[in-house]
């Protein structure tokens, strides 16, 4: 995709031969002469592939749907079972591009109009070339290792969240506000480390982590931030403290929801692309909620959450890093550098076991943190594509 208007592109394509006419052989028209670009037209009863073979390397399948239903396109292994690459959700009259690194070998192409059945299949050959793709024999092992270790991490964080949430609830309902205030950011660290997973349960998240500004009129406010406000009412003006009975209700509710969350997390499995997306997503949480000081509006403990999001992003990245190093070493070293830079800024704000209050950060410090988040987030946004390539 280009930001140039489509009409301007067409004009440019027309202009190229004229500009190039001083050489004997004008380059082939855009898109037409590249033997690694394959056009696919999928209709109700046909799957027209522009060629039956292409040289090994980065192949681009430009899939256009000429039918009336959504279609999918697959590049399958020779056995017709293993999915090498796929593109889904190609709407009628729309086009999608599938880019795949394909080593030499025998393959099958398949269009699946209406997304049913085996699809319309043809044999496809990738011939040897000097751009031969190295396939790491142990990549599947790396993938398996990343998936398994991330699952262990998420479950471990969830278990710790449950233990500390119970402790927090105990302190809070027994009126030991100092202990509750100390436990609050500590317990939430485990939530924030797996925030993208925890948030994926659309029913639990608003009950556990809603901020006051997220509510609709009439919606009941429960969860962490409700109790946060009760423990740090300074910014609330004329605040009426919760009664003991109210405290008990909110605490019980949070513990019950955390138990439910822990149980559901036990049933999850993660794929490498989800892990990579989760890593990126956690940095987005930092950019939109933590570095701005909005997440912990009452307690000002945003830097705990900030660190926890970065922890989770880092663990996710470390898991897939061996895969990235084999595919894009430059990206790997850049991410390593940027994670380190950001961590140095966070380490400078440590106080005892915790962090400086957000209120005590200077504008300059906030800006430096934001800059480091941007610097890391930009390359991190390319992680998933590299991992699954």
């Amino acid at each position: 995709m280009t930001r140039r208007p489509l009409t301007a592109l067409a004009l440019l394509a027309l202009a190229v031969p004229a500009l190039a006419s001083c050489t004997e052989n004008a380059p082939a028209a855009e898109g037409g002469g590249d033997d690694r670009t394959v056009t696919v037209t999928s209709s109700a009863d046909a799957c027209e592939v522009s060629t039956t073979e292409a040289p090994a390397g980065t192949l681009s399948f430009d899939v256009t749907n000429a039918g009336d239903e959504v279609t999918e396109f697959y590049l399958l292994g020779e056995d017709g079972l293993r999915i090498v690459a796929e593109v889904e959700n190609v709407g009628p009259q729309l086009s999608r591009q599938l880019v795949v690194n394909a080593p030499a070998g025998e393959y099958m192409t398949a269009c699946k109009p209406g997304m049913v059945g085996e699809g319309i299949r043809s044999a496809f050959t990738v011939t040897p070339s000097d751009e031969e793709v190295e396939v790491s024999a142990d990549e599947q092992e790396l993938v398996d290792a990343a998936e398994s270790s991330y699952q262990t991490y998420v479950q471990d964080q969830s278990d710790q969240l449950l233990v500390k949430t119970r402790e927090f609830a105990e302190d809070y309902t027994s009126g030991d506000d100092d202990a509750a205030r100390a436990m609050y950011p500590d317990a939430r660290t485990h939530w924030e480390r797996i925030e993208t997973v925890a948030e994926s349960f659309g029913d639990l998240d608003p009950r556990m982590d809603a901020r006051e500004a997220d509510l609709e009129p009439g919606q009941r406010w429960t969860g962490w931030h409700r109790m946060e406000k009760d423990l740090w009412p300074q910014r609330a003006g004329d605040y009426t403290p919760l009664t003991d009975a109210q405290r008990q209700t909110f605490a019980d509710d949070l513990v019950a929801n955390t138990e439910e969350l822990d149980e559901r997390i036990g049933e999850l499995e993660f794929t490498v692309d989800q892990i990579a997306n989760g890593s990126r997503g956690l940095l987005e949480e930092v950019a939109t909620g933590k570095v701005t000081g909005e997440e912990e509006y009452w307690s000002r403990t945003d830097l705990w959450d900030f660190q926890a999001n970065v922890d989770g992003a880092r663990v996710g990245y470390d898991g897939v890093a061996p895969i990235v190093e084999g595919k894009d070493a430059e990206l790997a070293s850049q991410l390593e550098l940027r994670f380190t830079d950001l961590q140095e800024l966070l380490d400078a704000q440590r106080v005892g076991d915790g962090f400086t209050s957000y209120d005590d950060l200077t504008k300059q410090e906030v800006r430096e943190l934001a800059d480091a988040v941007n610097a890391l987030s930009e390359p991190l946004s390319r992680l998933t594509a590299v991992v699954v390539a």
């Binding site: 995709m1 930001r3 959700n89 709407g91 609709e216 009129p217 950019a287 800006r367 934001a370 987030s377």
Partner: protein
């Protein structure tokens, strides 16, 4: 020496006849002389009549530039307020035809007086300037419920502050207002000139509460216009009510005579909802193309819905997609706000893209200044906004930092001032 004016410098009074007909003091506006306009002027010569059945700037083909201002009335004197509206009407009528704000002009008057027009529009054509006036709920009753100008019994039920929506982080200094003026033009300096001079005329009666510049239209209000792109890079508002849709305008934009027993004065007018929607564009830019398209529900290139076709192809929300989900995702923007999901509720959107410098965090303070004209905000806007706040995937990248609602009175007839029906 013949009076020098914007029109005179241009060498041709396109709309001069209309002005003369209005019987205003000459001011040299109609004295088209000779010579070409100043070089490099970015505006265009078209004019839209200030007077008519409806105010201009609603179904007028959306101009490219905006300056919007909300005002607090600082006087308790109803007569002073009416006098201001009368003075604004005269100035607006002059400026929308390419003339100066005051009856004398920027350089035609006494050397011993400040000019009655500020002068930055000398040499610029009318540039399609429209000025559209509105009244906020606080004009009728203040925060303490006090009837400020004897208008409380004319407050329509639908003219009230919008409810809080999730995602709202409203700045008081960017919200509300007793009055508003929307200035739209093809040239930004013409729009700014208009607001600046109206502000100047209003000193002592009103003060600016907040104002907003918009550098690019994000909506089309006519079939003759292409749908522009917002700062997410997408075409949005494709299902907008257009000027050519006479029945839809009657149903969804113009207030009817019997809509509200207290609001008969508003018949032929409309409600204006203004929302300053900041976009976290840095985060948005890191989403993959496929994710961006699934959030919007359209392709980024042509604006076609994900259910296929071209930009204006009707969206098939039921079309099955991969993985057992509809091809137009359930939380996509086009689905959540589509009229089909809201009993046919539609709006005439007329929003503008803005960039107000940089945030404290070094990001662009950018977004969409959403403007929508509706027959009733409670039915045409609030449910749509609630659905959006609740379930639109795009909300992840938006925060609303300003909000206001105004009643936009009907058009101004000959000899009347803007909003005359309210004060009659």
């Amino acid at each position: 020496m013949p009076p020098l004016s914007r029109r005179g410098l241009l060498g041709g009074g396109v709309a001069a006849a209309g002005l003369a007909g209005a019987g205003l003091v000459g001011a040299g506006i109609a004295s088209a002389t000779d010579g070409p306009g100043e070089p490099g002027a970015g505006g265009t010569p078209e004019t839209y009549p200030f007077r008519g059945e409806h105010q201009a700037g609603i179904v007028t083909p959306a101009q490219d530039r905006l300056h919007f201002a909300a005002f607090d009335v600082t006087t308790d004197d109803r007569e002073a307020l009416v006098a201001l509206l009368t003075a604004w009407t005269a100035a607006a009528e002059r400026m929308t035809t390419g003339g100066p704000a005051g009856p004398v002009g920027p350089v035609e008057g006494s050397a011993d007086l400040p000019p009655d027009d500020t002068g930055e529009a000398i040499g610029l054509p009318a540039s399609g300037l429209t000025l559209t006036f509105g009244f906020g709920p606080s004009l009728f009753r203040d925060a303490d419920g006090r009837d400020r100008f004897g208008l409380a019994d004319r407050l329509p039920a639908s003219l009230k502050d919008l409810p809080h929506f999730p995602g709202d982080v409203l700045a008081p200094g960017r919200s509300g207002g007793d009055l508003c003026v929307q200035a739209c033009a093809q040239d930004p300096q013409v729009a700014v000139h208009a607001i600046r001079n109206l502000v100047r005329i209003g000193f002592g009666t009103v003060r600016v509460r907040w104002s907003q510049l918009g550098f690019g239209r994000t909506s089309s209000t006519s079939t003759a216009q292409e749908t522009p792109r917002n700062l997410f890079g997408f075409k949005d508002g494709t299902a907008n009510v257009l000027a050519e849709e006479t029945q839809a305008l009657t149903d969804h934009v113009w207030v009817g005579e019997d809509d509200d027993p207290a609001g008969g004065w508003l018949a032929g007018g409309s409600y204006l909802v203004a929302r300053r929607i900041a976009m976290t564009i840095e985060t948005w830019d890191r989403q993959t193309l496929a994710e961006q398209e699934s959030i919007v529900g359209r392709t980024k290139g042509t604006g076609a819905p994900l259910s296929g076709g071209e930009e204006h192809t009707p969206i098939d929300f039921d079309m099955p997609g991969s993985n057992g989900q509809p091809v137009v995702p359930v939380d996509s923007h086009v689905r959540v706000v589509h009229p089909d999901q809201h009993g046919g509720a539609r709006m005439l959107r007329r929003g503008y893209t803005f960039v107000d410098g940089t945030t404290d965090l070094g990001g662009l303070d950018a977004g969409l200044f959403f403007l929508a004209f509706v027959r009733d905000p409670l039915t045409d806007f609030v449910p749509v906004q609630q659905a959006m706040a609740r379930s639109d995937a795009m909300m992840e990248y938006l925060r609303v930092t300003g909000s206001a609602v105004f009643a936009v009175p009907p058009g101004v007839a000959e000899g009347e001032h803007v909003g005359q029906s309210l004060f009659a």
